[in-house]
Amino acid sequence: MAREISQAIVDGILIGGVYALMAAGLTLIFGVLDIINIAQGVLVILGAYLSYSLFTKAHIDVFVGLLITVPAMFIIGVVIHWAFIRRLRGTERTSMTLLVTYAVALIIEGILYKVYGANFVQINAPSTNQTVHVFGFYIEYIYIYGFIMAVALVVALYALLYRTRFGRSVRATMQDETAARLVGIDVNRVAALTFGIGVAVTAAGGMVYGATNSFNANSGYDLISRLLAIIILGGMGSLGGALGAAVFMITLESVVTIWYPTWAVAVFYAALVLVLVFRPNGFFGQKAVRAQ
């Protein structure tokens, strides 16, 4: 039993890293644009399908394929922002953008159904689904590579935010949009690029998700509800909070699965409800006041 638990914890941490990456995109978008991107879940699935197509049709290795899918998803994100999000103004903007991204999610889901059908698929790259024996644990390579990649990308995201001029304008916009505009930051450009970056990470997250789970167009709902639970738990808009919450929640789910496999998903919702009852602003919510 102790052995199963420790294996579950190792799995949870490795997968949690990947969820952290997807949640980082979601929470970044929220922080800068004050938007909850409901389409994030189905965009992860879109990223997974793109990797799947590149692998099965063009025989491109899944990690090399990211060089194509990440820029592609970035462009999709910028287009979604340009076409729909940018146009919404006024007091009801936050609620409306939520509905708009929900509608975008439906459209993408419908297109994925049309292109790929309803059957579940999984990316079965021979280089990734072999197992390795480390410190007494059996782990598939994809979990290790995925975790390393996720950590690298999250570090890159941090570097972008805290070490570059662009990152400074993003953080300024997060703190006070009006003031950022006054000091000469092109807020619309920052918003568009942030949305693009937030969506681009779903390409990487989706690749690992697609290699470790079987999925179809409908899997986006399951993903978005987990991601929402994670970013609310971590405090919406807080990157560090999202990372911590992702690893914590996925590990918890992985441990609960040992005893109650069918109810493990409920951990997310239960945690979400408990947090909202006792700490409505999450545990690391720096933007709590504005968010309300």
């Binding site: 007091t91 708009v100 975008v104 459209i107 419908g110 609310i232 919702y269 309300q292």
Partner: protein, 373 residues
Amino acid sequence: MSTSTDMVSVSTDEAPGAGRRSSVLKAAGLLVLAIIVIAFPKVYSNPSVTNYGVFALIYVTVASAWNIFSGNTGYISLGMAVFYGSGAYALGAAASAWHFTGTSAFALLPFAAVVGAIIAVPFGLIALRVRRHTFIVITIAVFFIFQLMAFNLSFTHGTIGMNAPFISWPSSGYNTPFYYIALAIAAGTIAIAWLIRRSRFGLQLRAIRDDEDRARGLGVRTMRVKLSAFVISGAIAAMIGSVWFLYIGQVQPNTGFDPLFDLTIVLMAFLGGYGSIAGTVLGALIVEPATLWLNTQPQFSGGYLSEILLGGVFLIVVLFMPRGIIPTGGEWITRLRSRGRPAVIPATTIGGPKATGSVSATSIGSGSPGGAR
């Protein structure tokens, strides 16, 4: 901050009635409408046509119930399917436990409404603590909890779902009684929505929509008021959900708790006119038959097309006519009448005799600098 546009949208469909003549006209119009909807299944007795009628009325009811809570308070709920599905499952479970067979199952409709109300209380107590997008997220989370329970609890029978008590009506006339039951519930719901809108309770709800903190400052017991509206809306949705269950004869987790359902309801309300009673009904009457028709066309089979279209129409409505058909159409008519001169909509509506409560809630603070919300 809410400015004059907000006040207008609050009071759009209670523009001052121009004396007795217009109210006589209105009554006559309602009478004609009532005759048309009552005579509909007599004129078109073909089951495939009455099927459209039954589904349209079911969605009119759910959308109107949504409007009682979300349209009045501004809290956009994406959790109506929680009540709809729960109503279906509650009726199924009660019928099999207490041996209600055949038409006697209709006696359980009030029971489904009570279950909906009971679910709405803890749901509301948790979700209504937070506002705006956090509220929407919680309704989504609660929705997924219920879907998960339907999949995993023992009495719901997992993915197989539940079968409704068999009703042995001949298939040619099967739809007609359902049509009248749904019509009665839909009419009742619209009447409740209308009564609430005219009441002090309705004014309190709309004061919350305009500015909740200020409403509380003015003495509105916001939590109690919000929760009451939420419970009413949930009870109605559960009741019509159980009618739907009896009508189609079965329920599965992904049909009873369908994420598309929630967005469809919101689309109906936004299409017709967010917050307006007639607009919501109109939206439901447009959207539901259209999706039903699309899903039955063989060349569009698979359902994905209705998904894409639903999303597309929603985007167009939200982006280009955010206030819906009825308010936007009303503006166009006014513009036509005024022949290009700047229309005077805001002045007339604000000055309207009925717009007192909600306007006073906003106008008290209209001089103070806003925006720091």
